[in-house]
């Protein structure tokens, strides 16, 4: 356990050693600030049944920005170690493969959570100024942040897999971007082709993060979503572990 924490803390720190953490933080704060601003503007237009959190999260710039943050967070996790050769010093120390895979995943997840912390402030400010309790339901907060956290877990594990596949960080970024985008655009398929097979439609909606978000931001916790994100993440990490071993062993 101490070894895992040592690895984890290095992963988290390594974000802040490089400018990448600050660039992502600035980009993300700017984006969420803009979304919050336009969300509040939407609520101010007149009576609506939306909560502030729905107005905040259900905007296209928000989702585009959301897709964009995962590749830069995850691309260097494994690629960099393979490229620099540090994987050799790391894996000849008495640490297990799973410890390394989970610490890299965990490190990215911690950074992802740090990214979200400042956004809590928006809602504190909103509550202080607007005093609109109806627009500020607790369930909506819990549901939305839980959904963001779980979607983050899945997408970070996708990023881990992309990163372990190649030593080129750009290639890793592009792979993870494509896979993550698929989870989003999947739901658009049903708009463009309304007459697709119902089984396919069910599958697409099962995987659609966008649709899940709609439910969660109303405060609805559906166990199917937990199963989806939990099993998806586990599968991605398992594949990451296998590829990790394979690449080291054939190298």
């Amino acid at each position: 356990m101490t070894k895992f924490l040592t690895l984890l803390s290095r992963e988290v720190k390594s974000y802040f050693y490089s400018p990448i953490a600050y660039v992502i933080l600035c980009f993300f704060l700017g984006l969420t600030g803009l979304c919050f601003y336009s969300g509040v503007g939407f609520l101010a237009q007149g009576p609506t049944e939306h909560t502030v959190i729905q107005a905040f999260f259900d905007s296209i710039p928000f989702w585009i920005g959301f897709i964009l943050i995962f590749p830069p967070i995850t691309m260097r996790l494994f690629s960099e170690e393979f490229k620099m050769g540090t994987i050799e010093t790391l894996m000849t120390a008495p640490v297990g493969d799973w410890q390394v895979v989970l610490s890299k995943f965990g490190g990215a997840l911690v950074f992802y959570c740090v990214l979200w912390l400042p956004t809590l402030l928006y809602f504190v400010i909103f509550q202080q100024i607007a005093r609109a309790d109806a627009a500020n339901a607790t369930g909506a907060y819990l549901g939305s942040y839980l959904e963001l956290w779980m979607a983050g877990m899945l997408f970070i594990s996708v990023g881990c897999l992309a990163s372990v596949l190649t030593q080129n960080q750009m290639v890793a970024a592009v792979i993870s971007f494509c896979v993550i985008t698929f989870f989003f655009l999947g739901t658009l398929l049903t708009f463009f082709k309304p007459n697709i097979a119902p089984e396919l439609r069910m599958l697409v909606s099962y995987c659609s993060v966008l649709e899940h978000m709609g439910e969660f931001s109303k405060g609805v916790l559906d166990s199917r979503r937990f199963v989806f994100y939990g099993s998806g993440t586990a599968l991605m990490l398992l594949l990451t572990h296998q590829v990790f071993q394979f690449r080291r062993w054939k190298a």
Partner: protein, 311 residues
């Protein structure tokens, strides 16, 4: 300390090492030699549990490197080729991190990190960022890392590659000192270094062991151990004919150099015909300005073993 039995590693399409077997006893400093691509790094990577062998077994301090890999790693300090380090960490921070990975914590961590910094002369760069260090310092950081958990065995893959002559000398002295308390397996291309530091040498070529012995024995068992040089004033053809008759002389070649003939003799391993040569020269009244013996070096052994078939 190291036991390697019939180790084979095949990559897609080619065999890096074939049926390798050797042993390293406790307290030895063993030089692992071979041309580039001979399979040195592959063997070391298998020994360090970085990757598994295709077949065969290897153990360190009695622990199998594959099935008991964690215990084997506890007994081993490994420094990979080119010393990969995280460039964004500071020296002390990096060593603390590595110590924690090797389960050295608390007061013992402070003590060990202090010790290895002392041993590898890293005190004056302890707060520098690793990425800004010179090659020599990076090498020492790698070595300090390998020493952190005071392992019984050190495996060093080309510890002096890319260093300047002064740094090579420092690293060599350091290794010789370490040899008093640790068993060491090191690979290198700098052969005089091996002659000076290693108690035994294993030469591999194309994935197979060509020789394993002390440097002295290897040099002595060479087919032609060195040569003898004679510079004298005598007709080249006469000289060659006369010298060629001496016992133990296998081959004579000659060059002329401003009126002097320079003879180079190849002899049997254990004969030294210098005395007869001198007598011959005085009998025939040749004027001699040089008579010297060039001892064979490990370099000759290496070239003969690894290149012999092609030449």
């Amino acid at each position: 300390m190291i036991k390697v039995e019939n180790l084979t590693k095949r990559y897609a399409g080619f065999t890096a090492i074939k049926d390798l077997s050797f042993e390293v006893e406790k307290g030895e400093i063993v030089g692992f030699l071979g041309p580039n691509g001979a399979g040195k790094s592959t063997t070391m990577r298998i020994l360090s549990s970085y990757m598994p062998a295709t077949s065969g077994r290897a153990s360190i301090a009695g622990f199998d490197v594959f099935s008991q890999s964690m215990q084997a790693r506890q007994h081993l300090g490994y420094m990979p080729e080119n010393v990969p380090l995280y460039p964004d960490m500071r020296v002390t921070e990096y060593l603390n991190y590595r110590a924690a990975l090797k389960e050295i914590t608390g007061a013992r961590q402070r003590e060990r990190v202090g010790d290895v910094k002392e041993l590898c002369s890293l005190k004056d760069v302890e707060n520098r960022i690793v990425g800004t260090l010179s090659k020599g310092y990076r090498q020492r950081v790698g070595l300090a890392d390998a020493l952190l958990h005071s392992p019984d065995l050190l495996i060093l893959d080309e510890p002096t590659i890319g260093l300047d002559p002064n740094q090579i000398r420092q690293v060599r002295d350091l290794i010789r000192n370490l040899g008093k308390h640790h068993t060491i397996l090191l690979s290198t291309h700098i052969l005089p270094e091996v002659e000076m530091t290693c108690s035994r040498v294993v030469i591999i070529n194309r994935g197979k062991i060509e020789a394993a012995d002390t440097p002295e024995n290897l040099v002595n068992t060479m087919r032609a151990a060195g040569g003898i040089r004679l510079e004298a004033k005598v007709g080249a053809d006469d000289g060659v004919a006369e010298i060629g008759k001496l016992a133990g002389v296998k081959e004579v070649s000659v060059e002329t150099e401003d009126g002097w003939s320079v003879f180079t003799l190849r002899t049997d391993a254990r004969t030294d015909p210098r005395e007869e040569l001198w007598r011959l020269a005085t009998d025939r009244r040749w004027t001699v300005r040089e008579l010297s013996r060039r001892r064979a070096t490990l370099e000759d052994v290496f070239v003969e073993m690894t290149l012999g078939d092609d030449v």
